[in-house]
Symmetry: C2
Subunit: 337 residues, 2 copies
DNA sequence: CTTGGCACTCGGGAACACAGAGTGCCAGAG
DNA sequence: CTCTGGCACTCTGTGTTCCCGAGTGCCAAG
């Protein structure tokens, strides 16, 4: 159905269209790529490709433009991820290495990715659910109020005010803190609910009401924060791309974390790259927009995802290369901190 | 120089231009506002206003458009801040009340403001420098590594990894923590450097090297974080406004915190509203953009600023009303938490 | 000082023509 | 059966011209 030459033609169309942003015609193709055949032949192939929905013409007698289906084929079978240059790799390393805490790692990552791809970058904070408790801290704030601070092994810190049912002395707080930490240290967050059930038994009866309040807030924190946090950068690149169609939709999507998270998707292996092209993605505001995403994590566990959002006519090989590289480096940095 | 009628004409021009986004002519003015004079008279006044730089015409024989100077006069002398409707006030209250921690307060505030004004909203996190230490926590992470957590009375939490020069037992950490908190509790952040100087004396000699490392990181945290954190929302509103000119510049400014912070300004009394119009603001990418900002805080201290960023031709009375109201409510919420 | 009248200017939209790029199809060559 | 060159046809985008209308500035009269 699609012989090699037709595939070569499709590849050439995608490449040319991506670089020129203009419908590409048979003559231009024959000139720029040495396919060894005449424009007329190419026209025949184009007709076939159009027949099957890989390309389309904006108007009769304009050049051809790849369809979403065409890009899909290109990404799946016609392109190779393009690795970054040595200079770029070094730049990534030094740029990310300077970060001092999780917030800054995420911030730098997202900027880096935006700059590298000249598109909008999105980074999801490392998931709480897959990490474990490093430390729980209870800080007296007022007589009947404490701040609960939860520190995870991914460096994330969650904080919450708690109003207590009764005043409680500092040494009792200290005891409570000790017991909590003894129980929870190293405990996976998903195990916290069960693990925490033992806590009251280990406390003097008088402290149990207070403990119950604190524990319920702790559990609540875990549940609520399951809804993850996201950072993005590079929106200025949207204005540069002549992206005018859909700009609105993209900006809207960016402000809806829920949508954004679904867009990043939840998939397969670590550093496996997901590409969603135009209409393939589940949000109507993003017609004309593609998403290139990958998971990142330390060791072999995927902690969260990151990706890039740009016009369907983007340079997939380069973008995928950048996303993959950044995902790997972030994983390394997280593992080392 | 500018009699009352000329001022009235200027006001009418601003109002009409804001609502129609088209240059306004003498006839239209005479029709819509009952100024009690004929178009010809208005033309004379317009000539005078133009002479003095308050309005301009895009082309000979088009209507007039206010200049930055014209908006300035309008804001200073011709308009009154428009209070929010009761429904809006209630909406603010209920929307902000549900927030559980500082991050969420800021997040909700910025969304609220964006929605209320239909523009881009910016909120600066409560300043570290003007708050005080509530608690310092040192959490052992590995043998020679701890996490330093600083909690301020505004609910902000700063975290930092510290690599120690030597291993140290948990009880020595506990002692260090106790001493630190004894010294620093309630201490204004700006006093921390002096206060902290006493700490080593109160420790056994063997702990001083470790303490020195930790203290230096603590001080560093305070200095670096002086560069403040910012959140924004509502960029989708940019696309709606026919703002095409300068959209790029605005998006760029939003990604440069440094610029953004300078834009919010550092000014006068709490809930005092600052308006920077077009060329008045210190960043060239924002030609055509105005900023309406106010400080917010609990009690009488300004903790940080928030504001809105929109086209020079915005509805200043309404925008200022929204900014003022939100600033006040956030102040209340912060005071109460 | 205000007003009506008047001539003038200029931007923007409609109508039109035209060049150029690109297509589809066909008949002939390999 | 596939490729190629030729040819007629179809568009879009661009440039030109033209005209209308909104708006102005100025002037003379009330």
């Amino acid at each position: 159905m699609l012989d090699d030459r037709k595939l070569a033609v499709l590849r050439a169309i995608v490449e040319d269209y991506v670089s020129t942003n203009e419908p590409v015609g048979s003559k231009a193709l024959a000139d720029r790529h040495n396919l060894g055949v005449s424009p007329a032949t190419i026209r025949n192939d184009m007709a076939a490709l159009e027949e099957q929905g890989y390309i389309a013409q904006p108007h009769t007698s304009a050049g051809r433009v790849p369809t979403d289906k065409g890009y899909r084929l290109f990404v799946d079978r016609l392109s190779q991820i393009k690795p970054l240059s040595g200079a770029e790799r070094r730049a990534i390393e030094t740029f990310l290495a300077g970060a001092v805490d999780l917030d800054e790692i995420v911030m730098r990552t997202v900027r880096l990715l935006a700059q590298l791809t000249r598109q909008v970058a999105v980074v999801q904070y490392p998931s709480l659910t897959r990490s474990s408790v490093r430390h729980v801290e209870i800080v007296p704030i007022a007589e009947r109020r404490v701040m609960l601070v939860l520190i995870t092994n991914t460096g994330r810190v969650e904080q919450r005010m708690v109003d207590l049912p009764e005043a409680i002395a500092d040494d009792r707080i200290a005891n409570l803190r000790a017991v909590l930490n003894a129980c929870l240290d190293g405990c996976g967050l998903s195990q916290v609910p069960e693990t925490v059930a033992d806590v009251p038994e280990r406390l003097p009866a008088e402290d149990r009401p207070v403990a119950a309040t604190i524990l319920s807030v702790l559990l609540e924190t875990l549940v609520e924060r399951h809804e993850e946090k996201i950072a993005f950068a590079g929106t200025a690149n949207l204005a540069a791309a002549d992206f005018s169609v859909g700009l609105r939709g993209v900006l809207e999507a960016l402000e809806e974390q829920v949508v954004l998270i679904r867009l990043l998707g939840e998939t397969g292996g670590l550093s496996d790259i997901t590409v969603r092209i135009g209409s393939e993605n589940p949000y109507s505001g993003l017609r004309g927009t593609s998403i290139v995403a990958a998971g990142y994590g330390s060791g072999d566990r995927e902690l969260a995802r990151l990706g890039v959002l740009g016009p369907t006519r983007m340079d997939y090989p380069v973008t995928m290369g950048a996303v993959r590289a950044v995902a790997r480096y972030v994983g390394q940095i997280l593992a080392g901190s």
